[in-house]
Amino acid sequence: MSRYENRRGFLKKAAALTGFTIIPAHVLHSATAPSNQLTRALVGFGGIAHSGNHLGYRATRLIALCDPDANRVKEGLTLAEKNGYGKIHGCKDFREILAMPDVDIVHICTPPHWHGLISVMAAQAGKDIWCEKPMTRTIGEGKRVMEAVKANGRIFRLNTWFRFLGGFYGFGTEVKPLKKIMENRLLGWPVRAVVGSVTGFSLKFYWSGKTNLTPQPVPANLDYDLWLGPAPYKPYHPHRVHSNFRGYWDYDGGGLGDMGQHYLDPVQYLLEKDDTSPIRVDVDCPKQHPDAVGSFRRITYTYADGCQIILDGDDSMKGAPFLEGPKGRVWPRLRSDIPNLKSILEELPDPAPQQVDFVDAVKRRKTFALNENNGFRSCTIVNLGLVAMRLGRGFSFDPVRLCAVNDPAADRFITQPMRKPWVM
């Protein structure tokens, strides 16, 4: 029996033992003895892994980290020790982490071109997964992640939180009152959600690539081949890697790739589209360079029931962001043309609660609020926009078969091959 099985067996027995007592479960949940605490490994130690929310996440015990950059591994080990985790395991290759029997949760903090592949491999290795946004770089990869998580019975958490926690950026309010408005059809139906530059898209335009990068020597501390992984082999330039990778199609999708899922996931939740995708995406943008990501002026998504999401990239729409239906509009801070909206809201019950405690979800094998299924759908909104940008035109999408409708050029972007030996 492997160490992994022993550990899970222990947790299982601990759970069973609680049945013979009358100690409330929440008391047991609060126990933090190392043997009763879930363990976590950080895959990738760049900007996001440095954040206090991740390195300092105390609900699990950090026991390992990896990065293809030796300097980052060194820095990570030092910071982990400073944060009270003691001496943890550090390595270059994430496969070493997946082989560690003591790791319960793999926390994927790599650039997005790795998200799908590592998620699938982690699921196959029996790990639960906490993945940074965007969930995957292509729709095809997202589909594979859904399949692998389901087939292996894993718990998957996508790391954006606005649908259940904190203020909904740009709307000046939490999502909860907006959800009440939508659930009770106060605006009527279908609804158009306009997400403007105030929510961050134009702000992030500077996360654009550069054209014609001059090849440069690879630094000794970086395993560039491993950093690229499934992405095409292109000559090294420092602007391709680390904090600038978002500007290149091979690894991410610029500001939309970076911030899109943050802002669009709550919109998807509000529009009740957690189990489907738009049937049409249209775009107005400058012609995109084949390698470097550029900007967009407007992207319009249309769902089968007529609901729309509009990304106002050039600030040309007045009053964005807002939600609009046949019966009225809602602007930030619940400003609305519906009389007495706030008092109407007070009379309405709260939306159904969500499973927002990840550790509890892992222990109880409950689907997390933002998981591989609805996370895939909100990531698909982002990826449809990126495909339209690369095509320089709109296209129709089949939300069930997850492919473009009679459009092989779009399909080539929806499902992309990986560089060998990597394959999903």
Binding site: A15, T18, G209, T214, P232, K234, P290, D350, R365
Partner: protein
């Protein structure tokens, strides 16, 4: 090594037109949009493909190397690759040409460019040609060729994820073979035997089918179950099954189980089955609730009821335990249930403190002018913790009152009440406002009873606006008693903490300082005016980075720490225009401080926005930011403009500053 040398040489050769290469793709595309649009229009692409190789070759000439490829040509070639996918008549010829170009190319980067085009639009029969590239000595060509081969063979789509069959998958297969009536018993058995990680699939399958018999099987399984995790899962399943047969079990768990988590899950299941069952279970629970932990669980359920459902609970109040009463009052307040107002009036006569306080809080939200007499009387006689709640309730009711009933009632007490009630009423008067109460507060300063004159001074200190400032200043110098003078001085200090008020009343101070008065107060007031004043407050701010969301630059100088400026990039500059030259001698800056991050910054001052003098900063010594901010003093420097440079944020690329204060001595 050879590759390094080539790369180095390329870098030297291409360093001349470096400026053009530094443009981002977004900037470049915007500058060249017209050219790019013209080059990639559908009819242009169709025409190019019709003309064949002779039209394509000039494009190939422009693909020199990765560092020197013409972006318009490379974009046009990529567009051709997309076009032929939807117009297959040209695809074979075009992809054959791409392969030919790859085979002819000498430099690795150029070979990879052509292979990359093939990756998008090549044909399956070209996959074999990739073998020779895959054997290349150049690692980048070999790696790229393997990827293209995979794409051309379309192996990605055919690739099947090999996952060994899990126990859940085996069960699904087994269930498919069973007759319908045997499914539920098998599911229950599997649920009780399986590893906890496998039960998700069982529960998904158990939600439907089997009718009442299956529901009873699951209820029996619940009774046998000892593991709290599995008990929760069964309760959730019962809710999802939609069978009301399980309601008695769920109500029983909700009212009696010692595991509070199970109670919460049972409530959730009842919400799915029948909301009225939740209401009746709550009614019973409110009559017995004795512990605050159980109360907290009940609260989570109460908060989800509609207003109509809550109104239905008002009849339960009298039978509820003190915790139950407090809960009801709290929820009624949160949802502003006007029908519960009589319960609030009843609660403020109770002896149990929590009930009393929650009663006042409910009245804070629901009291109408009709309650003015009784509330004023009760509020003025409230004691201890209840007193401040009562006063807040009275003030809130008065703010909502368009008839002036509360102000009139308070005025009646101020004019005729006994000394203690009169003093309390005076202290409440700033919350009501109005000219009559203001006059009474001014008159009270001269009252012989110390209790009344002190209350008058305290009331004026709290009076909204600036009307009370000159009165307080005079009282600080010439009040009838030292106590009144001291209280008035305290009020002056509080008022003048606002820079706008301070600036306006300096001249008043000059007039009244000549009045005879208490030496100690005169000295204290003099000292107050020599203390620095934040001259940045309310001044306009400009920045050189985009704003994140509604965290506008003006928040930097809005005088509060509740709003912040979020700049979308670092280093970032924020320039404050003080409107006129000031002598600045210290600064206080507050950064976001939740997660141990550190911001590196410096502050520069200028009289003309051209010559800047650095006066403060933490470069090389940035520490994690704290709620106390960073305060620095420096030699007084004359400046009209202040520039805050936030050079680095240790957590991410953006900058987040709550407030910047710049202090200038206002001594005359």
């Amino acid at each position: 090594m050879k590759r390094l040398l080539i790369s180095g040489l390329l870098a030297l050769l291409i360093s001349a037109p470096i400026f053009a290469q530094e443009l981002s793709a977004a900037q470049w595309a915007q500058q060249n949009e017209a050219v790019l649009c013209a080059a990639t229009k559908t009819d242009v692409l169709a025409d190019l493909l019709r003309k064949g190789k002779t039209a394509w070759e000039p494009l190939a000439v422009k693909i020199l190397s990765a560092g020197k490829a013409d972006p318009v040509a490379s974009t046009q070639i990529a567009a051709l690759g997309q076009y032929v996918l939807t117009h297959p008549v040209y695809r074979a010829a075009y992809s054959a040409w791409l392969l030919e170009k790859a085979q002819q190319a000498k430099e690795a980067d150029v070979v990879c460019f052509w292979l990359n085009q093939l990756r998008w639009c090549g044909l399956p029969e070209q996959a074999a040609a990739m073998k020779s590239f895959a054997q290349s000595k150049d690692a980048s060509i070999a790696a790229f060729a393997l990827m293209v081969e995979q794409a051309l063979r379309d192996s990605y789509d055919r690739q099947v994820v090999t996952v060994p069959e899990t126990r859940a998958a085996a069960l699904t297969r087994e269930l498919a073979m069973l007759p319908e009536e045997a499914v539920a018993p098998r599911l229950v058995k599997f649920f009780e035997d399986a590893d906890i990680g496998c039960v998700r699939a069982v529960l998904a399958r158990g939600v439907t089918g089997g009718g009442a018999e299956a529901t009873q099987l699951w209820m029996a399984a619940y009774a046998r179950q000892t593991c709290p995790f599995r008990k929760k899962m069964i309760l959730e399943l019962l809710g999802d099954r939609g069978d009301r047969l399980s309601l008695p079990l769920l109500q029983d768990v909700f009212q009696k189980d010692l595991d509070l988590t199970l109670r919460a899950v049972a409530a959730e299941a009842m919400f799915k089955l029948d909301r009225s069952a939740v209401v009746s279970a709550l009614m019973e629970s409110l009559k017995t609730v004795a512990g605050s932990d159980v109360g907290a669980e009940l609260r989570k359920v109460l908060i989800r009821l509609t207003r109509a459902e809550l109104v239905g609970l008002t009849g339960t109040y009298d039978a509820a335990t003190p915790i139950g009463k407090s809960l009801l009052l709290e929820i009624f307040r949160m949802r502003r249930v006007a029908d519960a107002l009589p319960l609030g009036l009843k609660a403020i006569s109770e002896t149990q403190m929590d009930v009393l306080i929650n009663g006042w809080r409910l009245l804070r939200e629901t009291a109408t002018p009709s309650e003015a007499v009784v509330l004023t009387d009760k509020a003025l006689s409230a004691k201890g913790r209840a007193a401040s709640e009562a006063q807040q309730a009275l003030a809130a009711a008065a703010r909502r009152d368009g008839t002036g009933a509360y102000a009139r009632e308070l005025l009646k007490v101020v004019r005729s009440g006994d000394a203690a009630r009169k003093a309390l009423a005076l202290e409440l008067s700033p919350r009501m406002g109005g000219a009559d109460l203001f006059k009474e507060a001014v008159a009270a300063l001269d009252a012989p009873a110390a209790e009344i004159s002190g209350a008058g001074a305290r009331a004026l200190s709290e009076w909204e606006g600036t009307d009370a400032v000159p009165v307080l200043m005079r009282a600080a110098i010439a009040g009838k008693t030292p106590r009144v003078q001291a209280l008035a001085l305290r009020g002056v200090s509080r008022k003048l903490a606002d820079a706008k008020i301070a600036n306006r009343f300096i001249s008043v101070w000059k007039e009244i300082k000549a009045l005879p008065g208490n030496d100690a107060n005169r000295a204290a007031l003099q000292k107050f005016f020599s203390v620095s004043v934040n001259v940045a407050q309310g001044k306009p701010v400009t920045t050189n980075v985009p704003t994140e969301g509604d965290h506008v630059p003006a928040n930097l100088t809005d005088g509060t720490l509740t709003r912040a400026w979020h700049g979308g990039g670092s280093p970032a500059q924020a320039v404050v225009d003080l409107g006129k030259a000031e002598m600045i001698s210290s600064m206080h800056v507050f950064f976001y401080c939740q997660d141990g991050r550190a911001y590196t910054f410096n502050l520069e001052l200028s009289e003309d926005k051209k010559i800047w003098k650095k006066v403060a900063g933490n470069e090389g010594a940035a520490k994690p930011s704290t709620k106390d901010g960073v305060y620095e003093t420096f030699a007084p420097t004359k400046a009209r403009y202040a520039r805050l440079n936030v050079l680095k944020n240790s957590a991410n690329f953006a900058v987040h500053v709550l407030e910047l204060k710049l202090f200038s001595a206002k001594a005359e």
